[in-house]
């Protein structure tokens, strides 16, 4: 009995320590965003808990960063663009990989694993030159096109493994009835694999929304086209940072990908971990 008390005390203690590390930045973000700034800086050193709760910073952030709605809208466009393009490419490709035997399939499967490991920073030089030559720098297209290159492989992998687990009888029956491949994909494959499609869309959306910082940094110089990560970074990089407003803006613009992530958390985490372990 005594041992088990000790054991659970140990578990809780290490869990607390673990969460302390993982949520130190989030805690300070909340602390700064939800407190009046004057209150925050009044104490030296600052208090570790809020003395007053206020939402005033969420109003002020629109005054301090007037472009914030534009940034958020742009991030939404980048996220949606990357998400849609990735699943549009992944659906037929994964159907082909999951249902047909053809020459070169093994090579393509290996290339998918390889491509999934690449980061935009590795290919940023040719991507920049490509977009410059096509005159796409400072357009939505450049970031969406380049971004999809890095999300499509994982989306295809996720959909392929999902499709492999689905029974083929319905498709085969439809085929015998003379259904065309496009009809089978539209009316059978897409509805049946909807959960996996939603998961891949959200993965690509989050990546496009925020995770491809370097792409926007290199391809976008105009304020009205910046995603929220880059826009807030520009604000952050100026000499005097308004922390309360910055943290409020970060909180708001993180909630959207966070909410989407949490909706599909189970399947996305399963997909991402399995993607790394099984290939």
């Amino acid at each position: 009995m005594r041992r088990s008390y000790l054991r659970s005390a140990l578990i809780y203690l290490s869990a607390l320590l673990f969460l302390f590390y993982l949520h130190l930045p989030t805690y300070q973000m909340l602390l700064t965003a939800l407190q009046p700034w004057d209150e925050f800086i009044k104490h030296v050193p600052p208090l570790l808990y809020p003395s007053h709760i206020t939402l005033i910073n969420f109003i002020n952030m629109f005054k301090v960063v007037p472009e914030l709605p534009t940034y958020l809208m742009n991030s939404f466009i980048y996220g949606t663009g990357v998400g849609l393009l990735s699943i549009l490419a992944a659906i037929p490709s994964s159907y082909s990989l999951a249902r047909f035997k053809f020459k070169g399939k093994e090579a393509i499967l290996a290339l998918i694993i390889y491509a999934n490991m690449l980061s935009p920073i590795m290919l940023i030089v040719p991507i920049y030159r490509f977009m410059r030559v096509l005159n796409l720098v400072n357009t939505y297209y450049s970031v969406i096109l380049a971004g999809s290159i890095f999300t499509t492989p994982f989306c295809t992998w996720l959909l392929t493994s999902y499709l492999r687990g689905l029974p083929r009888e319905i498709e085969e029956a439809a085929m015998i009835d003379g259904c065309s491949t496009s009809k089978i994909i539209l009316h059978i494959v897409i509805p049946l694999s909807a959960p996996a499609i939603v998961t891949s869309f959200i993965y690509a959306f989050i990546t496009g929304w925020s995770q491809q910082f370097i792409l926007a940094l290199v391809l976008i110089q105009r304020d009205e086209l910046m995603p929220v990560t880059q826009g807030l970074y520009m604000f952050f990089a100026r000499s005097s940072v308004r922390w309360a407003e910055l943290m409020s803006a970060i909180l708001v613009s993180t909630l959207i990908p966070l909410a989407m992530f949490m909706v599909v958390q189970k399947s996305l985490v399963r997909g991402l971990t399995a993607g790394a372990l099984k290939g």
């Binding site: 300070q28 037929p92 082909s96 694993i113 920073i121 040719p126 995770q211 992530f261 399963r270």
Partner: protein
């Protein structure tokens, strides 16, 4: 599985296009590394042979870093970051593998940082490290106020986490490790849950202690997953850009300038002439290293 004639090839065209673009980009990187090209006017290029590579390897002064500086720094970066990620991830997974009240909340709080955009997280960390109002210094100062610990040790607070070369490097590391821990934890948790209970039962009958069970059952069963996850993480950590860029931009005194930061600086910031070409040469090295790691990773996947 059926043969579909042309059909599978037509269906896979979108993916083939993506893979073709990646292949093209790599070929283009190698090609550009032999030319003088600038980001200001990428239409003009002049053949310089191995000139860009020679530039990378010349070391005119200790203040201007060159390829070996970047490589060593990246190596230290990856080695320390990945090993700590594995250790903390393993710890987190072991906690999550236990039955306790509040486990669901703990799990949700563990994966949540995964969804925070790295650029945003980097700014949050910059605020944590702030030496006027940052929470890290606040905590230390509160501890000092009640215990006098730091005064007794002769350490002057607040500490500057960013500003001096070595502390900056460690601060960037801590932020980067933070970003990798949720993934590691969930990967190891999946691995732990796949270990058959019979092995633990057998160990129990043999009278093994908790530590012996961990040492002789858990670790050997988990080691293939630790290997694969480490290789996966090496690639991501090696490519890590957002945290370093936002926290220090590679400074102070190039102390946090890893290979990806160097690529961005060389290609787009330092040089008005020939930057893109020299950046391409650096990218070739980056791609070669990453591809080698991916090769071993894929070999390991095949075996498993």
């Amino acid at each position: 599985m059926k043969e579909g004639g042309l059909k599978p090839y037509l269906l896979i065209l979108p993916l083939a296009f993506v893979l073709a673009f990646i292949t093209y980009s790599m070929a283009e990187t190698i090609y550009l590394s032999f030319f003088e090209v600038s980001y200001l006017n990428p239409f003009y290029k002049k053949f310089v042979g191995l000139g860009n590579y020679l530039w990378l390897f010349t070391h005119p002064s200790p203040t201007r870093p060159y390829i070996l500086d970047w490589l060593t720094r990246s190596l230290i970066w990856v080695a320390s970051s990945v090993s700590v990620k594995v250790l903390i991830g393993l710890g987190g997974a072991l906690i999550l593998n236990e039955e306790f009240k509040g486990r669901g909340i703990f799990r949700a709080l563990t994966v949540a940082p995964w969804a925070i955009p790295w650029a945003m997280a980097a700014m949050m960390w910059a605020w944590v490290y702030n030496n006027q109002y940052g929470i890290l210094d606040s905590i230390l100062m509160h501890i000092d106020k009640y215990t006098g610990l730091f005064k007794a040790l002769g350490i002057k607070l607040p500490l500057a986490f960013i500003g001096l070369p070595l502390p900056s490097f460690i601060s960037c590391l801590i932020a980067d490790i933070w970003a990798g821990v949720p993934f590691m934890t969930m990967v190891f948790l999946a691995g732990l849950q796949a270990i058959p209970q019979e092995l633990y039962d057998a160990a129990m009958i043999d009278g093994a202690s908790s530590f012996q069970k961990f040492r002789h059952v858990t670790l050997p069963q988990l080691s293939p997953i630790i290997m694969v996850a480490s290789l996966f993480s090496i690639v991501w950590t090696f490519n890590s850009f957002d945290f370093i860029w936002i926290l220090t931009q590679g400074g102070p005194l190039h102390a946090t300038e890893t290979l990806p930061i160097a690529i961005y600086n060389v290609a787009f910031r330092w040089l008005r002439v020939g930057g893109l070409g020299k950046g391409a040469a650096l990218s070739v090295i980056q791609i070669a290293i990453v591809s080698t790691v991916i090769y071993f990773y894929m070999k390991l996947l095949r075996r498993g």
